[in-house]
């Protein structure tokens, strides 16, 4: 690929990690301001109730209490925690108030208190007296649509948030099914995973001199600012969002959580307020993964595997509010188009309200659920037609120029074949896969499985993906990179600095990212979601660096008396391409921009705006080797490999880290992570790390992320995304490996020992019958 790169592609350290490793990095959890109060929330114990009255008098009378807020303090502007609604021209549904007359899930805030310390704040919360008129509630999409079911929202008849709606269909599926030789279908269910970042949801808000500053874990700071202003009914420019480092993310920061309450409190108290949720509150209140509770999918192929028709329906359990359930189902559907060249597709989405905690987004948004269903069905099809499952995937995936995830999009690059090859090699597929129907004996049986997918690098063209990057130069030839990707630990700032340094011919150390990020300083940016950080923002950085480079060359050209296009920059030196001896230090030109005594001063600050149109799909192959204990139902992952088509890894260590982190979250999704909400009373039964298990080191199998770097013509230095991709393929590859081991087809995640045992029992009883 091109000429040799000096900074891009190198495993340089992520700069902010020096602070993090010394405990010097600030998070919402660690920020303290002079006179800061402690905010605490009062949560509804009921899943559905009318709030008849809230008596705060005793709480307000407590010494040390500075503010109590309830629905009386809410400006009653309809809004949504989902700040991504602004990325669509008509937006996503908005159906929330800060405090409503009705509570719709256990844990929904009813009031909030700010006091001088935690102890008093807690006491005050206990002193608030709420009279509820408890109403019947619904805890499943099946019950919610029954005639006479309690309504979650008066406006939603039969609790239909969105009726079944076909989207992006093409061809004639019925005709193509009738011409198919083999048809498989299934109904799949997936769980309500929690992002479960280690820093609990929290924020600090300060109302001072008519301005509201909010320190937030937001991934989308500029739209967070707009949504807070909307909810509080104040001008947008009144609000300033500062992002310190966030100890969470994975989609969590694409929705508000404690922010509206902290804002109401500080506006009433006139002092800064921190609202930091406990782990239990975080699990009960933070919008979870888009909960596509049911996927019905059917596919038909020809004898030789030729994909004919695919039909699917995605049902979202919205919970109490629409949140991101519609876009979640939409992305499940759209991303399902990318993978295989089906002659026709018909897919629909629907969303139903229940009295569950609502859902936002989590890494692998929507694609998790469609990939799980599709990749298992592909496995079944392969068995039926007697085809090697790797061969099918190689033969029938879409390729360059093919249809992408959105109408009229085209695939710009595809490295899936290479991913399948290197992954198969690493897992030892040849020796381990013994063909369909291989007999396995013993109590513990091993199997291998494969799955594949194609994702995206930003949600364009479906969503607005406006992004900006600014480079501001100093007199010593260094610069500050001002951008707004959110500081979730993605490591993407390192990649941005590498891109800028490479373009400018300066060193990695010469480019310093702005932290914390501040909407008063940074240009507009969508922020971090949909794996866009490196690809979309990286392109803005690349463009800004190119513009700055031109300015520096122009200036050098005057000094050297050589045309600008005859010059190049390398290793901090500007020189003539024809006569490398002739040149000038980059630093000298920088110095001259600031301290020019020839009446030629100029602060070089360059901003570049990008609105990408291509979506540059990264591709991936996943391989699992499992051992199933037929007595206990326990599935042990022996080895998990993902091979990822990254285009080019700007910083391989960072890319691997993203993929490996996704990998363990994917194993959690596949085998044990599940928010369990009581169907009796709506109480979240998994509100601690003791009950909501995330992978510990003991759950960490031998796993690896392999990088395939074949380049993409549209990416910055031909890079594509890696933020979400790590998480998709564990569930389907493990499910397929379980089938290879013990011959059961699981359709529900998490694939718990109980489910495995039930399926084994079912299998042996059908065999004996």
């Amino acid at each position: 690929m091109q000429e040799e790169l000096r900074v891009v592609g190198k495993r340089v350290p992520v700069k902010e990690n020096f602070d993090k490793v010394q405990g010097k990095a600030d998070y919402c959890a660690t920020i303290t301001l002079p006179g800061m109060l402690v905010g605490k929330l009062l949560h509804s114990p009921h899943a559905h109730a009318r709030v008849v009255s809230v008596d705060t008098s005793r709480a307000e009378g407590l010494q040390g209490v500075k503010a109590v807020v309830t629905k009386k303090d809410d400006p009653r502007k309809i809004f949504t925690w989902n700040v991504m609604t602004y990325q669509l021209p008509d937006g996503e549904p908005q159906d929330q108030y800060i405090f409503d007359d009705v509570v719709r899930y256990v844990g929904e805030p009813v009031a909030a208190v700010a006091a001088v310390n935690e102890e008093i704040a807690k006491k005050a919360v206990d002193l608030i007296e709420v009279e509820y008129d408890v109403l019947p509630a619904v805890f499943s999409v099946e019950d919610a649509v029954k005639k006479g079911a309690p309504r979650v929202h008066d406006t939603a008849e039969n609790n239909i948030g969105a009726p079944p709606t076909p989207v992006f269909c093409y061809g004639d599926v019925e005709k193509d099914f009738s011409e198919s030789d083999t048809i498989v279908e299934g109904v799949f269910s997936t769980s309500k995973q929690s992002q479960a970042g280690l820093e609990n949801a929290g924020c600090v808000a300060e109302w001072r001199n008519g301005r509201l500053t909010v320190w937030s874990q937001a991934q989308l700071p500029h739209m967070t600012k707009r949504m807070i202003a909307q909810a509080l009914d104040i001008p947008e420019s009144t609000v300033r969002v500062i992002q310190p480092f966030a100890g969470t993310g994975f989609g969590a920061g694409t929705d508000l959580c404690p922010e509206p309450y902290a804002c109401l409190l500080t506006m009433k108290a006139g002092a800064p307020v921190k609202v930091a949720l406990t782990r239990s509150e975080d699990l009960r209140m933070r919008f979870t993964r888009e909960h596509i509770v049911r996927v019905e999918m059917k596919m038909g192929v020809k004898k030789d595997g030729t994909p004919m028709a695919l039909k699917a329906k995605y049902t979202g359990d919205a919970g109490a509010y629409m949140g991101k359930i519609l876009s979640g189902c939409g992305v499940a559907l759209a991303s399902n188009i990318t993978e295989y060249e089906f002659k026709s597709m018909y897919q629909e989405i629907e969303a139903i309200y229940t009295h569950h905690l609502a859902c936002g987004a989590m890494r692998g948004f929507g694609g998790m659920q469609s990939t799980f269903a599709r990749e298992i069905l592909v496995d079944e099809v392969c068995e039926k037609i007697g085809m090697n499952p790797i061969e099918f995937r190689k033969k029938y995936h879409r390729g360059v120029g093919g249809l992408g995830w959105f109408p009229d999009t085209k695939i710009s690059s595809c490295g899936l074949d290479a991913c399948l090859d290197v992954g198969a090699e690493r897992i030892g597929w040849k020796g381990k896969w013994q063909g369909w129907g291989a007999k396995k004996e013993g109590i513990r049986r091993r199997g291998v499985g494969v799955a594949a997918m194609g994702w995206l690098s930003g949600a364009q063209p479906m969503l607005l993906e406006h992004t900006n990057a600014t480079l501001k130069f100093n007199s010593d030839g260094t610069c500050t990179l001002i951008g707004s990707p959110g500081l979730l630990g993605q490591g993407v700032l390192a990649a941005h600095c590498q891109i800028a340094a490479e373009v400018l011919g300066i060193d990695y150390d010469d480019v310093r990212p702005l932290t914390p990020q501040d909407t008063d300083i940074t240009g507009f940016d969508i922020g971090t979601h949909a794996s866009r950080g490196c690809y979309c923002i990286g392109r803005a950085v690349e463009k800004a660096a190119q513009q700055a480079r031109e300015l520096f060359l122009e200036r050098a050209s005057k000094k050297l008396g050589v045309a600008a296009d005859a010059l190049d920059i390398k290793e901090r030196r500007i020189f003539c391409k024809d006569d490398p001896e002739k040149g000038i230090e980059f630093r000298e030109i920088a110095q001259d921009t600031i301290y020019s005594f020839g009446k030629d001063c100029r602060q070089i600050t360059v901003n570049a705006t990008i609105e990408p149109t291509e979506f540059a799909p990264p591709w991936q192959a996943g391989f699992a080797e499992v051992e199933v204990d037929t007595e206990t139902g326990v599935v042990e992952v022996i080895k998990m490999i993902i091979a990822h088509d990254i285009g080019r890894a700007i910083n391989p260590t960072v890319v691997e880290g993203q993929l490996e982190g996704g990998q363990l979250q994917g194993i959690g999704f596949a085998l044990f992570e599940d928010i369990i909400i009581s169907s009796e009373n709506g109480v979240n039964l998994t509100d601690s790390f003791n009950k909501y298990k995330i992978a510990s080191m003991l759950d960490c199998p031998d796993h690896e992320a392999l990088l395939v770097e074949l380049g993409d013509p549209t990416g910055p230095f031909s890079a594509k995304s890696c933020g979400e991709s790590g998480i998709f393929l564990q569930a389907p590859a493990i499910a397929n490996a379980i089938y290879d081991a013990v011959g059961i087809r699981l359709r529900d995640v998490p694939m718990t020992p109980e489910r495995v045992l039930a399926a084994l029992k079912n299998k042996s009883s059908t065999q004996t019958n």
């Binding site: 490793v21 969470t248 993310g249 995330i694 960490c700």
Partner: protein
Amino acid sequence: MQKIPATFFVNGDRYDLMIDTHALLLEVLRDDLGFKGVHESCGEGDCGACTVLVDGVAVLSCLTLAAAVRGKEIVTIEGLAKGSDLDPIQNAFVKHGAIQCGYCTPGMVMAAKNLLNENPHPSREEIKKGLAGNLCRCTGYNKIIEAVSDVAKGGK
């Protein structure tokens, strides 16, 4: 709320203060003494984010009564570097990309310090066991294990 006098030796310095009898070590270190690198997540012993060393041994500061460790030597993440020279474990975490959001990092590094004190050359399995009480949501653990192995092998 009853207050009692307490002395702690934190990162080599002596602190004398009045603490609540029921105050947790986490609260005293973070809120009273300003060691903000001591992070809290679960608050009930499930995650390890709050790990510090007390007399050289890793403890969960969210489960430890401050009153019970009066007079003891405490090391937090802030006390690991010598001036501006990072501890080899800290260097290894940065070099290997063992840090993403960094919220687990102080606790993880302290737990790793404890592990290497007890067992300077742990195997991969011993590292996994030794650090199993410290959750990390971001990294998938590979790079943390690599960083710790690297230090154990004498890497810097």
